[in-house]
Symmetry: C2
Subunit: 72 residues, 2 copies
């Protein structure tokens, strides 16, 4: 299990947090997703047994939700 | 057709607008719903043929979405 942390810009409310959480939850091996609009942060655990997870996959998932992520 | 306008506090983004729009769209006889988080406004048309629409129904619908409405 590895912990991933990303800065996410543009989130303003709980709806935004849920939109990010929903998209990131579709990535394989991801669990314990935490999103804070106030802090502009996304953190989650990734189980390596589910395969490699690249920054681009996370950035794309957050982009799908309508926001911009960068690895923290 | 009558136009109704309400001030709505607490909306911060397009997700908030959609949440309000969705709840208000469930009210009978309502159409042309416009919601602006920036302006804090909700406007819509109401067809009297669908029956009476009270402020309380609108306030309750907006409350369901998580926000507070007052008749403008």
């Amino acid at each position: 299990m590895s912990t991933y942390t990303y800065n996410v810009t543009g989130m303003s409310c709980g709806h935004c947090e849920n939109a990010v959480k929903e998209e990131v939850s579709n990535l394989p091996g991801v669990s314990n997703i935490e999103v804070s609009a106030d802090k502009g942060l996304l953190t989650f655990e990734h189980d390596g047994a589910a395969g490699e997870l690249t920054d681009q996959q996370v950035i794309d998932a957050v982009d799908e939700a309508g926001y911009e992520a960068t690895r923290a």
